[in-house]
Amino acid sequence: MLAKVLSATTWGIEARMVEVEVDVGTGLPAFQIVGLPDAAVQESRERVRSAIKNSGFAFPAQRVTVNLAPAFLKKSGSDFDLAIALGILLATGQVKLAFSFLLSSFVFIGELSLSGEVKPVHGILPIAHFLSSQKDPHSLILSCGNAQEGALVEGVKVFAFRHLQEIVDFLTGKIGREPFSVDRDKLFTSFSGREDLAEVKGQRKAKRALEIAACGGHHLLFIGPPGSGKTMLAHRIPSLLPPLSLDEAIEVTKIHSVAGFLSEDQPLITERPFRAPHHTISDVALVGGGQWPRPGEISLAHHGVLFLDEVLEFRRNVLETLREPLEKGKVTVSRATAIVTYPAKFILVIACNPCPCGYWGDPQRSCTCSPRQILQYRGKLSGPLLDRIDLQVEVPRLEVAEMSAEKEEESSLEVRKRVEQVRMIQRERFCKDQITLNGEMRASHLRKFCHLVPEAKHLLDQSVEKLALSMRAYHHILKVSRTIADLEGEERIQVHHVAEAIQYRSLDRRWE
């Protein structure tokens, strides 16, 4: 007899329907799964066999064939356990549905334990999101552990169960079950206190740069000796950014769901991500990949901050891979099994020491590097990655006295208010363009949106010559001065906006 049960699988952060067909027929006892399953899917044979037995049913001593359709789509993971088990029970007639059409309105996703328990799996949110976008949404049947995540999406009914037996009882009408619901607003507003900018003493220039970066989505470089507070500053950028919108939160959560980083008690990611991979990271781990392409750190940092500390310690080929995502805001990972695109829009913050030993310009310790070493070091800093950094800020190590000075520091909340204001200006400005932030402007946008007053234009041209700035720096300065002008609500860029923007281009100066 043939049975057909619906399931689904993730594809990048999208999802596809999968039909699970089960045929039980005469022949020597066997259990085959076809439809490009990987090893994890093959293993589900053993789990399904035991789960059926231990749930009070009999596993047929017949030839069992399972087909996962569409057959060309590669399948991985344990998501199909539940659908396969149900298919077998239906095909062997052990379970009889009162209304067989009922079955086709459900999508079953879950892993089975040997005892028949239903276990949570990764990537539920993209699937729920996918189902909600269909014309006639299916309902989801899944594990209690996945319930909150699945219920986040409006328009999809979610039924959560603990055991295979329960699901059978539900389908045969022995027990009733209300769709699981979750208070999204409550989840969404549970904004836990982040690190606050007020905890950083002094460092006004660096803080100002953080604010500008948060406003315009500019990428940022910190140069400073160890212990100057580069990491501490970078950690506080998310607290300056406006909270994620629900759509953004779902997009971020989808990525983390696919990567398997969601926990049961945190089904929705409401805070902007901050990812700080260690410098030993591989290119695959950074941009995504693997046999079944998984999102990398850059996608996990989507809508948040990617922080690369000691950026020169990263392998060069690893940094090179950042170019495309920085350009496009997404990354396409091609593998033999699949080509997947993950979103990757983030503020990049990189940090490094001013010289190999790290103590160049430190008031307390003297630098032991030779001038040649320092020159080489600076050379390493240039290159394609630096091309995309708008703000370059030196972070000096402050004297203890300065740090302990009791001065009222501005809190993240106050700064965030300004950031939200500036972001609104940008939304209006770019409503007809494909971009949303000043940091994303291309040459054509610069011409269109960066109008300088004549004196400012004159000054900028002059400074390029006098301070020996490169033409590359010119564009960065324009972008940053646009954001600084926005901070003051100025339509045209004034002299002092340019003056400040130039101070964030220290690496473009030609040093003696």
């Binding site: 002094g202 460092q203 006004r204 220039k205 660096a206 100002r208 140069i223 400073g224 001013p354 010289c355 160049w360 310009g361 320092i374 600076r378 030196e394 972070v395 000096p396 402050l398 300065e402 000054l459 002059q462 400074s463 006098k466 301070l467 003051e488 002299v495 002092h496 340019v498 003056a499 400040e500 130039i502 101070q503 220290s506 100066r509 040093w511």
Partner: protein, 363 residues
């Protein structure tokens, strides 16, 4: 009508008449003119038989009235002990040259600070590097005096000229010729940049071997101190150092490798008590000076540029050590907007400069 000055020049052209004999003649006859026409026996009494014969011979050949023409044609100026413009420090030594030929617009009364820097004609790469480094830095504080010779002297002049400083070359031959010939271009540069060439020998005199030790006494005599950059144990630079010691001028030396012959002389000077020089401030310290003069110059510079109050305030917080922008923000307590605008305009005026690592230094 011939002036006294012409007879001074005439005596300068007589071989064997140096500062000491000339002083004796002046003492005996009252003025140079009287001495020039003095009788043979009287001259013999004062300068001895040999020099008197030379003098009488020269008297026949030299026409005092023609000498100044030659000097003018060579575009030289003459400084005598009678002139107010005679270098004041040189006047103080025991036997100052009674006459100097000068090429260039330099005025010795203009700058109060002179430093001699001398060394071997066969320097090592280390010596060249040290000479260039120190001369460049020291030219910010001093007029640098040296001997235009090959080797260290030349490097010193070059470094000063490159830094836009003022330097004086004292030659062992008659101006306007320059020996060694390969330094002619450099000598022109020195003059063009406001420096001068100096010699006590009559125009077009050849560079005689015996001219050089007296030349060295002028180098040290012009200066408050002498820095010997590199010198072997028998270098002429040590003669300059000895003169300096006799005249009570500070002697300093650049330490070198114990295995380098070119550092034997300098290292021995240090052993004998000369101040070792590693950087500009060592010299200033040895001479009991601060870099005050530059401060004055700077104030001059500042006055010439119209600065607003904010710019003046920010500038007053800076020196060549520099400060981080972070510190400056804290010290001024200004809004970022005002701070960056002020800093930027100072930068555009060329008064300050950002450096690698984030410090702002004053230029």
């Amino acid at each position: 009508m011939l002036q006294e000055r012409s007879f001074w020049i005439a005596f300068n052209h007589v071989r064997g008449i140096g500062p000491i004999r000339f002083q004796k003649l002046l003492k005996r006859f009252g003025c140079a003119e009287e001495a020039w026409y003095a009788g043979e026996s009287a001259l013999r009494e004062v300068v001895g038989e040999r020099v008197a014969t030379l003098l009488i011979e020269s008297r026949r050949k030299i026409k005092p009235e023609r000498l100044e023409e030659t000097i003018e044609r060579a575009r030289l100026r003459v400084l005598t002990l009678l002139d107010d413009t005679y270098p004041p420090l040189l006047r103080e030594i025991t036997a100052p040259p009674f006459l100097l030929y000068l090429k260039g617009d330099f005025d010795f009364l203009r700058s109060p600070r002179y430093l001699a820097m001398v060394g071997t004609r066969r320097p090592t790469p280390y010596g060249i590097k040290a000479a260039r480094y120190l001369a460049g830095d020291l030219s910010e504080e001093f007029v640098i005096v040296s001997g235009m010779a090959l080797g260290i002297d030349g490097e010193v002049h070059k470094a000063v000229v490159e830094r836009g400083g003022i330097t004086i070359g004292v030659l062992g031959n008659g101006l306007p010729d320059v020996y060694p010939r390969s330094h002619r271009r450099l000598a022109e540069e020195v003059v063009a940049r406001g420096g001068a060439l100096l010699s006590e020998y009559p125009p077009f005199s050849p560079p005689l071997r015996e001219n050089f030790p007296p030349r060295n006494r002028i180098i040290s005599g012009l200066s408050q101190g002498v820095v010997v950059v590199e010198a072997s144990s028998r270098s002429g630079a040590l003669i300059t150092a000895n003169f300096a010691l006799e005249e009570g001028r500070e002697v300093m030396a650049v330490p070198g490798s114990i295995f380098s012959a070119q550092s034997e002389g300098t290292n021995r000077l240090i052993a004998q008590g000369a101040k070792p020089v590693q950087k500009k401030s060592d010299v200033l310290e040895a001479l009991g000076m601060t870099s005050g003069e530059k401060q004055e110059e700077r104030d001059e510079l500042q006055k010439s540029l119209p600065l607003n109050e904010a710019e003046k305030e920010l500038l007053s917080l800076l020196d060549e050590e520099g400060r981080f922008q972070e510190e400056l923000l804290a010290l001024t307590g200004w809004e970022e907007r005002d701070f960056f605008t002020t800093l930027f305009s100072l930068e555009m005026k060329g008064l300050v400069r950002g450096t690698w690592g984030g410090k702002v230094i004053r230029l």
